[in-house]
Symmetry: C2
Subunit: 347 residues, 2 copies
């Protein structure tokens, strides 16, 4: 066979927005696209064993809602990949369902899509930061009730315990792509004083550019900020527990746009009931799609249905970024600089 | 009488936050505070005729919810003011209830509190801009329903018609204190491209600082922007009517944080029902405290109970600004520069 182009294993539905770039990719690579049935775990494993897709060099999964039919990428799957395979570019902002350690040992670079989703997720954080300071849920309920007395109650009284985020202190747990975007937006919109805690400290020039201050100890940060935002990857155990909630400054607030499992909701309900926390805003919940019924009736709690990443712009950016990550990995295209500006890489 | 200090007629409840500045004011001026009963229109007019409060030089009204018992400041009231009276400093971001023309003819400078409320009102605009692009009301309702199927429906489908405000075009009608704050926040948070229409064009350097582009014709602006924000003072007739809605770009959005009377809601309902507009966010409603029942059940409409200005920080800033405006008017204090930075004057 004369064709020496690398082979890409394409998982999921066909590209639907950036078809121009896909046409380019089709010229640069040989793209093999398993059917939905072939992507089911048993069949997928069988096909890998049979080397049905030859010695492919990369895996491309440009959408969040298709291409994951084979389930968890653990040793059982990863060890069946061809030796030649060196890149896996996937939509989604996290690394869920991927054993990164095994992936790395196998010599495969995993590119996630965090950069594509950070704008939308950052906006969701801003959307929740406003109500936790402003009693917005009370104001919304007053209007939606179409009861003039409830409207008047909200109009008159919601303000009496409401504050401007402006000038207050924000604490971000996890300053990755999403956390950094939240910092930039919260400063640009409210001029908040921003602290962060992370297992890895940013470089000094990055901290200066983002106008953020590092807190080595999580507890130290919780004690001084007016609002905590959780923006971490999936963690093995909740980071917001009865013990950590106790360290929050009295009357402060919690926003979670990361993962429902990061917050012990029973403990959160308790902290809200005693008034130790004054409000919470949660895009994600612990037992999705089930919402804690006590949280749902609290007027100082704003809830959304895990839609932080969910925009058409994110979808477009996911597919573009996934394709460009593969191109950059193999071809290091000359437009790499402009790509980095648009979607900063995870490195 | 030896005391040659100017007299201030103080309308409303006692200062409750910035008592230190008030103590200063009490040394610099003689402050007379009519009782609530004396502030009722008939009694107030009688007292003015009797010159009960001597030849006062200024009127101070530091709160929105007290001090306006006498009703509209029209010719009937203004003509009774002492010749010596040259300043009226009031809370509230608008000039409602004040005949500014008559005030000016009488040689009285009217200072409103827009600078004190613009931060909170700007945040309310940001709070409504996110949902009109993002289908946030759908996401909220899914979670609040505590019905896992409605949650899943929102989680999966809200994204499919949702966009990031980032990079989209925003059109602001009225670029006063509040409009300018919205521009600054929308650029800082979303990097939106911002256009504005106003009866008065800003200076070139102001436009550059705010990164806004002037549209001489309102219709011209409506045709090109993805979201229109109304931030005008009270107008004699609605600015958003069936005729203007028709000029909106198809699928664009409306946010109103100014005055309910600025929008013809029946026409808005029509534009939403036909899909000509894709969403609306309204902090103010046409027939407050009554909410249009059709708007209340639309999933692409976000409503709040006219709480845009409503925060404790606004209250604090209202009273501080009202007092400082009086001080600056009479004393031109040396800390005027720092005051201007904190609360830019309306001039």
């Amino acid at each position: 066979m004369d064709d020496d182009r690398d082979i890409i294993l394409y998982l999921g539905d066909p590209i639907c927005y950036n078809t121009e770039l896909y046409a380019k990719l089709e010229k640069e690579f040989i793209i093999l696209r398993p059917s939905k049935k072939e992507r089911e775990r048993d069949e997928f494993i069988k096909a890998l064993k049979e080397k049905r897709w030859c010695e492919f060099s990369a895996i491309l999964r440009p959408f969040c809602d298709s291409g994951w039919e084979m389930g968890k990428w653990n040793t059982a799957l990863i060890h069946l990949l061809p030796d030649r395979c060196s890149a896996f570019a996937s939509a989604g902002s996290g690394n869920e369902g991927i054993d990164l350690k095994v992936m790395k040992m196998q010599g495969i670079e995993y590119y996630n899509g965090a950069a594509a989703a950070s704008e939308a997720t950052g906006d969701m954080a801003i959307f929740h930061i406003i109500p936790v300071f402003r009693n917005m849920q009370w104001s919304i309920e007053g209007a939606l009730s179409i009861d003039p007395n409830r409207w008047k109650d909200a109009h008159r009284n919601a303000a009496r315990t409401a504050y401007n985020p402006s000038g207050k202190a924000l604490g971000i747990i996890g300053l990755g792509q999403v956390g950094s975007t939240i910092a930039r937006k919260a400063f640009g919109c409210f001029g908040m004083k921003i602290y962060y805690h992370d297992i890895k400290r940013k470089r000094k020039n990055e901290e200066e550019a983002l106008k953020v201050e590092f807190c080595e100890r999580l507890e130290g940060m919780l004690e001084i900020v007016d609002c905590v935002v959780v923006a971490t990857p999936v963690l093995p155990t909740p980071i917001i527990t009865k013990a950590t909630l106790w360290r929050f400054k009295k009357g402060s607030r919690l926003v979670n746009i990361a993962h429902g499992s990061s917050v012990d909701e029973e403990a959160l309900v308790g902290a809200l009931e005693t008034g130790h926390l004054s409000a919470a805003g949660l895009d994600v919940q612990e037992k999705e799609p089930y919402v804690h019924p006590k949280l749902a009736v609290m007027r100082n709690v704003t809830l959304t249905s895990h839609t932080a990443e969910g925009t058409i712009d994110t979808e477009i950016a996911f597919e573009t970024l996934a394709m460009e990550n593969i191109r950059q990995h193999f071809l290091a295209p000359s437009d790499f600089q402009s790509l980095c500006q648009k979607y900063p890489m995870r490195h």
